[in-house]
Symmetry: C2
């Protein structure tokens, strides 16, 4: 068995890798519709909301827009989609509540136990495009036992820009090759590897529900490939 | 009983408020001297090391020096003091080990239990001039249950500059008056109050050992004054 040099810190992509954003947002929107007596295709609205995620960050990445946190981008995308779906009557307070649904996303079932094991041997934290306030509340709501919460603002760069990965290592006083990104997305891992980090793929084949077209399996030379966080902990020698 | 509006997040000064840096560093240096067969006044060296803390940050605060993290400042101060004490023979590896003693500081006895109670009702985190890597390892070594670790780099400003306090609130998506600084130092609390934060004083009258001259008690109109973290938790209505 050839074990690559082990990292000292494991940093996790969050949306999709740690939390099941799709079913969480569908449930929040459906519940909201029931409470307010509003009818809409909440599943479609969820998928459209997420589809605006990358484009909304791209303006910031490219420098055509000043630094803007994800909470603000999420809100702008929501406003556009409510208009599209004929839901202009939704109040400002409700829009704020719905935007904060991204602070309440549920983790996949293996996450809390897996992180608890991994934390025994490694510094564990986030390496996410989410803003620090979002990630902090997400962790608190679900008892995610992070040692450190690193968000987009701590780098002032959105993944997959190299600076997003390198700055996380710098903040932990570690060279990039002592930090491993754990992610369910091959593209994220490729960018992390290019920035000098170690890589671990954990499959989340139901992240996009029936619309999933990529990331069913590892498609790069990642240091580890695991079925879930518990399996990763076992591969890394963490006690049960 | 008049209770001021309660903050949503409690952020803690770390050196002196959360951890007993003086006895921790004295013990580390004394142990080091024994192991290496080196004689020196380790207590004096500890107090001199801490005495260089504020001057070393002042060059950064004033803008005469580019942004520099505390680990680097600690190391420079140590190098100067080892020379002063005739300890030039200490190796680079040992200097690095001793600098990292600030990553291993012990918490005061009431801290872990008090934070655990406070965490039930509030977001809890650091608001320290320590760098993120230092604060993360400090927390991991002593099981400090922070929700979020905010260090000097997340503001790129050293306390007591107002930006250090305001940026912490911004990172948590909170207005300053929904964040409370908990500190054992009246000057820190005064700066936090000027930046719009709430304030809680927790006395640490033995922080500087026989050299303590200030901060025996609260000397400003702080929102809360507590004897330790457990007492603060009780005043804030957290369950035992």
């Amino acid at each position: 068995m050839t074990t690559p040099p082990i990292a000292k810190a494991l940093l996790f992509d969050v949306f999709g890798t740690v939390v099941d954003w799709r079913s969480s947002i569908i449930d929040e929107l459906t519940q909201f519709g029931t409470t307010r007596g509003l009818k809409a295709d909440w599943v479609a609205l969820t998928d459209e909301w997420r589809a605006l995620y990358q484009p909304s960050m791209e303006a910031v990445r490219s420098g055509t827009r000043a630094w803007t946190i994800l909470d603000v981008l999420h809100r702008e995308s929501l406003d556009a989609l409510l208009a599209k779906h004929g839901l202009n009557a939704v109040t400002t307070a409700d829009r704020e509540h719905l935007t904060r649904a991204w602070h309440r996303l549920r983790p996949w079932p293996d996450v809390v136990q897996g992180l608890t094991r991994l934390k025994r041997n490694y510094i564990i934290g986030t390496l996410s495009n989410g803003n620090v306030g979002l990630l902090t509340r997400l962790a608190k709501n679900s008892a995610l036992p992070w040692d450190v919460v690193l968000g987009a603002e701590t780098a002032r760069a959105y993944k997959p820009l190299p600076e997003a990965y390198r700055s996380a290592a710098t903040l932990l006083n570690l060279p990039p090759n002592e930090v491993m990104l754990v992610a369910a997305h091959n593209g994220d891992l490729a960018a992390a590897a290019n920035a000098g980090l170690r890589t671990a793929f954990v499959g989340r084949p139901t992240e996009y529900g029936p619309h999933q077209t990529v990331d069913f399996k590892a498609d790069g030379p990642w240091d580890y490939v695991a079925t879930d966080f518990g399996n990763l902990a076992t591969q890394l020698g963490c006690t049960p």
